[in-house]
Amino acid sequence: MSTTTQSKTGPRKLAFGMPTPDEIAAGGIPGLSARPKLPVDLMDKLNASELEEVEDIELPTEPMQINMGPSHPATHGTVRIVLTIDGETVRDSDVQVGYLHRCFEKEAEYATYTQVFPYTDRLNYVSPLLNNVGFALAVEKLLGIGAAIPERAQYIRVIVGEISRITDHLTCLGASAMEVGGFTPFLWMIKIREWLWELLEELTGARLTHSYVRVGGVSQDLTEDFIARLRATLNRSLEPLAECEKLLVKNRIFRDRMDGVGTMSAEDAIAMGWTGPCLRSTGVPYDVRKDHPYLVYDRFEFDVPVGSVGDNYDRFAVRLEEIRQSMRILEQAMQQIPPGPVLLDEPRICMPPKNAVYNTIESMIGHFKLIVDGIKVPPGEVYSYTEGGNGELGFYIVSDGSGRPYRCHVRSPSFIITQSMSKLILGAGIADIIPTFGMINMIGGECDR
């Protein structure tokens, strides 16, 4: 049962009917791939054809325009959906993003590379460390020091990143449960998230806006008992996770709400630029960690769960399975992590230790130059991409050789997935908008930047 014994050998039994890694390797998630494409409801069809034969009744009707948001309980961030509805059926919709725009890209042009990290925390604010890592990798790529980053720092980045992925998915799954009325699983999932955030708080000093990663490594080494505590927390979280699953996955009402709603085909998803769990739910096994490994992801054994129908339930199940896969990665990383430094020993890029700053003139000058001028990144441009909580999180940076980015663009997965929202909810009911919107997991901070 526990993650401590799950690493390499022997079949690992996950709680409550979730497939073991071997089963997944044998052919996808059984529950997912075995499900047939959902037929159109025959009764609805019958009614529609019957209705055409009935003589028109003289009741003048007109579609109603209604605003969902920007201040509406279901809009996680702030988004406005202008709906044209006929009864409760959505005939047309206009999804307007931008209500949480905070000028990330412009602000980044006025900050040194190190100062951008706190801004990246606020992009996808349920998995800030993944953004941290993504930005650091982009700058390091431009500096050409990617291979020189200490191995321990790379492992730490994987560990904190995967913890963040778990918190991201937990938030998304919990919120979607709450939105269809299941308040209890939501709070259970948030409970697990809180345990993980406590760990991260202990490590980074902040509960949410960690700003933990630096260009060239991470700001500080793992605390003494971090590995043991992480292992204990992961073990402890298996039980509530399984309980949530029992309350939702096998619940008829929940399945009826999620199955076949917000369906997207793989072709359309690719055409719309989908990535991440949403793309994988349509059956495309694209995962940056697997297809273009960065950091030390090529050293871990993990699976990329895919769905078959591309509906809300598939998105739900893919995320749920990814939590377990992240736990697998964490377990392997905890075993493999080597000792050593966590920050590159390069005074032009990384801050010297505080002790040296106070005691040696060279370190003090280096510290001063890094604070005032920033890291001097050679001129050029770079696009670096990582697997964020919602999909491919890309940073495109243009440098003019100064200590501040000349241009910094974020390819935020939420923004790109949200453009399909109108398509997904066309013809659905008002009640379907909410789980659909929840499962594409638009995070206001990331989408609007």
């Binding site: 299941g182 259970w188 009402i253 929940f254 709400r257």
Partner: protein, 376 residues
């Protein structure tokens, strides 16, 4: 002294009815409804690994925060009563009243204890039929009994529909529409599922149903009509508009038919919902759980162990309240476990699944009743 008061009440039924109504509504229903607001939050907190409201206190008296309902009531009273500019003021004000009044009135038909035998309260009563004067522990004993309940329960739909319509808000209008379609659909099933019970016990009058169930637990409605129990309980939860049937409210989608209400007007809707749950518990108790009956206890006591009449009656009233508390708790449990339906799924459940089942229940029950009575 006591006897003369009781005798006076037995003779002046109108005074007795008024007194009973006040006792029942102000002494039981309203406190219980207020307490359920606290109980719901504590219950959900326990289910969700939280603490829930536990702070309200008067000086050192804390009692697990039970006084929160007082704080809630004070808050509701003193909040600003916002009336949006374009509402239909009369209907806007009428809607909360229409929501709460029918539920309170319907309590009149619920028997909360056996007939009190005036003049023999301290002695053992072996045959209640021998009593010279009785006070029924039921506000209104009418032959139409349960029909009166259905009639008034249908009126409650006006409250929600009017609230939705008069608010001049598209979201509340949608909520009101959902509420009216849902309540009307499920009333059909509610009525039909109880038909079997009426056939079995041969009466529409709640007290007669309770008396017919007797003190043998196997004769109670839940055992004689198990299918009807499930159907009625489901349909009645839908009628109270609580999860998993809280579509008219639908927090994340519609916010609800009462979105424009604030202060005590909102509080009345809120309270009406809780009173409905209590009322549902009362009806289920009456029809399916033997009302005030206690297994093994008849009017003279437990078998050969005799008890004074007053003790018997008091025991039965207490057990009746406990049954209601249990059912209220059960509803809270359901409320915090299940997700919400979608409108079309709700209609499908009501018309295509519950309704045929309740019709089947009537046919089977009628056949069995006919067969047992020897075809007469």
């Amino acid at each position: 002294m006591t006897d003369s008061i009781l005798m006076f009440l037995a003779e002046h039924t109108a005074v007795a009815a008024l007194l009973k109504l006040v006792l029942l509504v102000l002494g039981f229903v309203m406190p219980l409804a207020s307490l359920s607001t606290w109980a719901e939050r504590r219950q959900s907190a326990m289910m969700q690994d939280r603490l829930g409201p536990n702070r309200a206190s008067i000086g050192p008296v804390k009692l697990w925060g039970i006084l929160h309902f007082v704080a809630d009531a004070i808050k509701m009273m003193f909040k600003e009563d916002v009336v949006p500019a374009k509402v239909d003021r009369f209907l806007f004000a009428l809607a909360p009243v229409m929501a709460i009044a029918p539920v309170l009135i319907t309590f009149a038909v619920i028997p909360f204890g056996p007939d009190l035998c005036v003049g023999q309260v301290m002695s053992v009563v072996t045959d209640p039929a021998m009593c010279k004067a009785t006070i029924p522990l039921q506000v209104a004993r009418m032959d139409v009994g349960m029909l009166f309940y259905f009639a008034l329960a249908s009126l409650a739909v006006y409250g929600t529909t009017l609230a939705g319509w008069a608010s001049y808000n598209k979201w509340s209008l949608l909520g009101g529409l959902r509420a009216s379609s849902q309540m009307m659909s499920y009333e059909v099933c509610m009525g039909l599922s109880l038909m079997g019970v009426f056939l079995v016990y041969g009466s529409l009058e709640p007290n007669a149903i309770v008396a017919a169930q007797g003190s043998s637990i196997l004769n109670w409605g839940i055992f004689t009509q198990p299918l009807a129990f499930i159907l009625f309980f489901t349909a009645a939860i839908a009628e109270t508009k609580r999860a998993p049937f809280d579509l008219p409210e639908g927090e994340p989608e519609l916010i609800g038919y009462f979105v424009e209400y604030s202060g005590m007007r909102f509080g009345i809707f809120f309270l009406a919902e809780f009173i409905e749950t209590i009322f549902l518990a009362a009806v289920v108790t009456t029809v399916f759980l033997g009302g005030w009956q206690i297994p093994g206890l008849d009017s003279s006591g437990f078998g050969s162990f005799h008890l004074p009449h007053l003790v018997v009656v008091l025991l039965q009233v207490v057990v009746w309240s406990l049954k209601i508390l249990f059912l209220c708790w059960l509803q809270l449990l359901i409320r915090w476990t299940l997700p919400r339906f979608r409108p079309d799924q709700l209609m499908r459940l009501g018309w295509k699944q519950l309704l045929p089942l309740s019709l089947l229940n009537i046919i089977v029950t009628a056949a069995v009743v006919l067969w047992r009575s020897g075809g007469k």
